[in-house]
């Protein structure tokens, strides 16, 4: 599992990026997708995810789009966050992934 390495701290228009391995058994499946998008919607920052460091990027606030990514267990999930509460948003979504979305 990779830890977050924020590329630049504080408020910025430059995106923050980080990555983490999906550890929960079912990947980014129905329940994890709902949890992730609910979490993301709690922030004003633009939050995107991708299976590769250079995208293509998907809106992490849309369960329909997140499900289309079909990220399986073991996949490296990359996040890209832009906005005033970006740092907190990034920490929150990474915590969810690290925690396996609370699933066994």
């Amino acid at each position: 599992m990779h830890d977050a390495h924020a590329s630049r701290p504080g408020e910025t228009a430059v995106p923050l990026t980080a990555s983490a391995v999906l550890v929960n058994k079912v990947g980014l499946h129905a329940r994890p997708s709902v949890k992730l998008t609910q979490c993301a919607k709690g922030f004003t920052a633009k939050i995107e995810l991708a299976l590769a460091a250079d995208g293509p990027w998907t809106d992490a606030k849309s369960p329909v789009k997140v499900m289309r990514v079909k990220a399986p267990q073991g996949a490296m999930l990359h996040f890209r966050v832009t906005g005033s509460d970006g740092k907190a948003a990034l920490a929150a979504v990474l915590a969810l992934v690290h925690d396996g979305f609370g699933e066994a």
């Binding site: 499946h29 998008t37 369960p63 329909v64 499900m67 289309r68 079909k70 399986p72």
Partner: protein, 532 residues
Amino acid sequence: MAEIHLIGRAASPGLAIGPVTMLTAAVARRTASDDPAQEAAALRAAIEGARAEIAEQIKTNQGEVADILEFQVAMLEDDALADPAYGVISEGITADHAWRLALDVEIAGYRAAEDEYFRARAADIVDIRDRVLAHLSGVDTVARITSGSIVAADDITPSAFLAADWSHGGAIALAAGSPSSHVAMLARARGAPMVVGLGPLSWNGQPPALALVDGDAGTVILDPEPETRRLFEHRMAVANAAQAAADDGRLESARTADGRRIAVLLNIAAPEDLAGLDPAICDGIGLVRTEFLFEASQGLPDENAQYAVYRRILDWAEGRPVTIRTLDAGGDKPIAGLTIDSERNPFLGLRGIRLSLARPEVFRVQLRALCRAAVHGALKVMLPMIAVPSELDRANALLDAEFTALRAEGIACGRPPLGIMVEVPAAALRAEDFGAAFYSIGSNDLTQYTMAAARDIGAVADLNDTGNPAVLALISRTVEAGRKRGVEVSLCGDAAADTRLTTALIATGLTTLSVSPIAVARLKAAIAKVRS
């Protein structure tokens, strides 16, 4: 309008006539507007209606069921789902067509997924699609099957079946489906005629208003001519008279034509199945399924809840023997939070006793509840899916431990005799090796494991035949093992209620058959004709 004859496969016996309820919105008609703005508004309203309906259902569900419903709500709340549909609506496509196009692309995406978890989600998107289509056309959705109607659908889920009231007639006509599905078993238990494998349900012009379902022959007639209907109603009257005559004999104990006494027991899934029944119709209860106690909506039931249910059943039986089967989850009976849903072949996986021994913390609660219930009647406990004697030995040790612990705590309890289901060919071939207090032949699984033909695959359902000599030989062998060891042998699968097999089953030496309450009268009448 000419009547339409459809030929399928009989899945649950009986005749029924009634108005047609279409379960899929796929064939429902709606009058579309020429105005794209009105069509977009109609779609928006339908999506909101569907969302609100599911949100309402969430309130009465918990656990995994609620999670799936929440997922559907989240998908419906997401504009990204309907955006492609609004796009084509603005180009002049009707709302229902646009929604179907958009969702079918989404569904195809899931079906093409490499990961089986994502493939399985296609069913959720189908559910979402059809629910919105139902709202668009104003068609009743699954939860509102009108009592007494003929339900026509591609397939029907057990939950949709259970949500409807089948006590006032009604029947099921399916384009797909299988006579060996879980729903077919439920339909037979509730006495609802069912025909499957009818092929695409199509017609010209208006959808059918009335249907005749012949669950004996496996045929359906849509919009019958008056003469066809009159003949069918005459057949129903004759069949009802025969049933009434059989009902008159159902309080008598069963004897063959040459005087052999056959014990007839009941199979039940819940105490509700006994409502209004006179215990005198049977010689006891041969199978209490306990899976329904563990349904996802209720979570894992605690010891007191289980004890209360077991006790109610024993009280009803008034001293007659009651055989309760420990949890038989897995296979076609998944239970949220307990069974493993990633097994490649769940019928050959962690199910029945295997799951209980793998999850002793759940199993122990059930054994404690059973020991406490044992003081209220003649309780017997049986273990499903036993393959080797060590499984029985381990279960015996666990039962002893719980009994001893309860007694040490000063709680009223008994130590019920522990028997085994004989449903794995290995157990049938070596039944005498098991130190079981009794054998109960589970003919459904014994048949499917012997014939290597799944119960729920219509294309091989013909092979799934308990009357096959190989299956009958395993039954005979089990009966012989019981005779040698001096323990009772009974049979509690669907075959017991199939009166075409009654003679063959009694010829194996069986003297105890267990069937759903609805089949008691028919079975007793069939036994009375057997001469060995």
